[in-house]
Symmetry: C2
Subunit: 379 residues, 2 copies
């Protein structure tokens, strides 16, 4: 018997309520029946985004929502600041370049978080209209201090955009309270859905840029989205089944309560970090900015990191993530978000220990699992 | 008891095999397991697209795939020919304009098909790089003669793009044999899936334009898609569950056989036309170009067309489509595509007759259903 367990940073496992919603007969999207579903989704999204501003559902992956931010806020020839501390920070720069936007890049050493002072200095030195950041850099397991960054950006002319694809519904992000202008996300992480939906929230300050921007945009045109959503409609056919399932997931998040979700994910990440320590493994991210959504652990020297991940997945059915880009083979990553709880973590750690043991790594069997258990014992 | 029946031109009803596939536990998209699924999807899509060229899956609705065509083939300042005979033909013009492309519009009277001579003349008179057409104009129920259009375009410098969102897997479209360069489609019509996937096929002739084009593009960049797909991968996270369900639907289409699918849909459309005639109702589309995917029927004078559609849907659970844009309230539309068979059509017609009767329209009860039955009796 092979049984599968998923602990990757997206897609995350689907709750049975979501699977059931996906399997329902489909309904037409231009009906009062579906309008009621859209309205419910919008209310739930505002709760999870912690905003009273507009939130839109896009038929796209998270990257589509990132492109929507760039294409709607900026014009060719504009300047924007991008923070690059991993693969997904780099995506902001690539998107800017694709649209002829001059990207003032803040290079951050991978595994570290950007220093707010650097953003402050860049804002002073340039005429950037937008600052693009990442809540949780999935490739490195680093969380940015968005609250402090927002403190700086809100007093400038610039608009703050946060890629929260890997952080929304996992890590606290007080969109309105902190004055984050644009939050971008996707369905397959904290929201416990299959990939296929992108989300974007827009502040009043951001709308001013959107109305003035001249980049080509049609499918991702947020002005059209705003007009349609005002009538509980979407400009183009929306992924009906995914939206129905979204409401099932949003209901679960509301029932658990956002604060409890953040605590659960935080505890799980803490337990993974504790386990790594007990196993003599080093964390890739700096302790000061380790993410509560995903933990990247260095592959011990002499061990084949890709083989470790493959063995866990293909022999034992436990899927964690390997490293991306320059970290390929150098780290492995365990998610602590979405429909995952403490016992999924101990399960994954016991499999990790088994494979490490078989690969000849020296450690006390059970030490990682025990360290995690100890974390979970504390309320 | 209220039971629901769907006969709209997208989404079409989901087969149980598709519902089951959607409800499965999700798997990670960067695994050999999912690569095998992608390869199978690609093979199935080539069968349905009738091409040996590249076909890509996009995480978008059909409009996203249309934008992919415009953004990848053209640059600002280029000229393209668009054929406007309804709401979806107009979308090509709007997309061109959004990208700074000069659209040479061929206006076609709604309900009629474009004359090939007009395309020939426009090609001679302009330096158009692309001709944008629509296989089945969903808003009017008109099918274009793509075979003859392709005959003309293939001998020019221009590339032929066909919006087959409402026609793929419903009406014959011999992509390679007729030399259609780019075919765009979506998941929620002939392919019997929920909305959320876009598709696009690309000929060698089209790749030359793509490599030369300078429009901004990132999420929809087909060069990145080509690179990823060569390794059975996608540039961005793909809607895993929808792709798994796609394979279930493609398997059904293969088992039925494309020719049989076309015959089934053709028969159903013929039966709707026959029923309309027997009920004294007029078809909106010209008889010479009436679509086998969808039939638009004029609302009899004195009757409230919107009330007709609403009553069928909200009181009796039979959802057909009303008119769009300028046809709002003036036509109603019955789909004959996807997971629909002859008895769904007679069911819908019996409901239509009931509501027409209740609204005071004069006709012989049962005449429409009988006319349809007669069509289905003939093999």
């Amino acid at each position: 018997m092979k049984k599968n367990y998923l602990l990757t940073p997206g897609p995350t496992p689907l709750p049975p309520q979501v699977c059931e919603a996906l399997a329902r007969p489909i309904i037409h999207h231009r009906t009062p029946q579906f309008q009621a579903i859209l309205k419910e989704a919008l209310e739930g999204l505002k709760y999870v985004f912690q905003t009273s501003s507009d939130v839109f559902i896009l038929s796209s992956s998270g990257t589509g929502a990132m492109e929507a931010a760039v294409a709607n806020l900026l014009s060719s020839g504009d300047t924007a600041i991008t923070v690059e501390g991993g693969k997904f920070g780099e995506r902001w720069t690539e998107l800017c370049q694709a649209y002829g936007v001059h990207a003032e890049v803040i290079k951050v050493e991978w595994g570290k978080a950007v220093r707010v002072e650097e953003i402050k200095a860049k804002l002073k030195a340039t005429k950037a209209r937008v600052v693009f950041t990442t809540l949780c850099e999935t490739s490195t397991g680093v969380t940015s201090d968005i609250k402090s960054i927002a403190e700086v950006v809100k007093n400038s002319e610039a608009v703050l955009v946060v890629d929260a694809i890997s952080g929304l519904g996992v890590i606290d992000l007080k969109t309105d309270e902190w004055a984050v202008d644009v939050v971008v996300s996707g369905s397959q992480k904290g929201l416990m859905l299959p990939p296929g939906l992108g989300f974007i929230s827009i502040s009043q300050k951001a709308w001013k840029l959107i109305d003035a921007a001249r980049s080509p945009r049609y499918y991702f045109d947020l002005r059209a989205a705003k007009k349609a959503w005002a009538q509980a409609d979407t400009p183009f056919t929306t992924p009906v089944s995914l939206v129905v399932a979204l409401n099932a997931a949003l209901k679960m998040l509301k029932q658990e309560g956002l604060e409890n979700v953040f605590t659960r994910c935080g505890k799980m990440a803490e337990s993974v970090r504790a386990a790594a320590g007990a196993l003599g493994l080093k964390l890739y991210a700096d302790a000061s900015c380790a993410s509560d959504a995903i933990t990247a652990i260095n592959v011990p020297s002499g061990l084949d990191g890709e083989k470790l991940v493959k063995t866990m997945r293909d022999i034992y059915g436990v899927t964690i993530a390997g490293g991306q880009s320059e970290l390929k083979g150098r780290v492995f990553r365990i998610a602590s978000m979405g429909y995952i709880n403490e016992f999924d973590i101990t399960l994954a750690l016991s499999c990790l220990e088994k494979v490490l043991y078989q690969m000849g790594y020296k450690f006390e069997l059970g030490a990682g699992v025990k360290a995690a258990q100890e974390v979970f014992l504390v309320l």
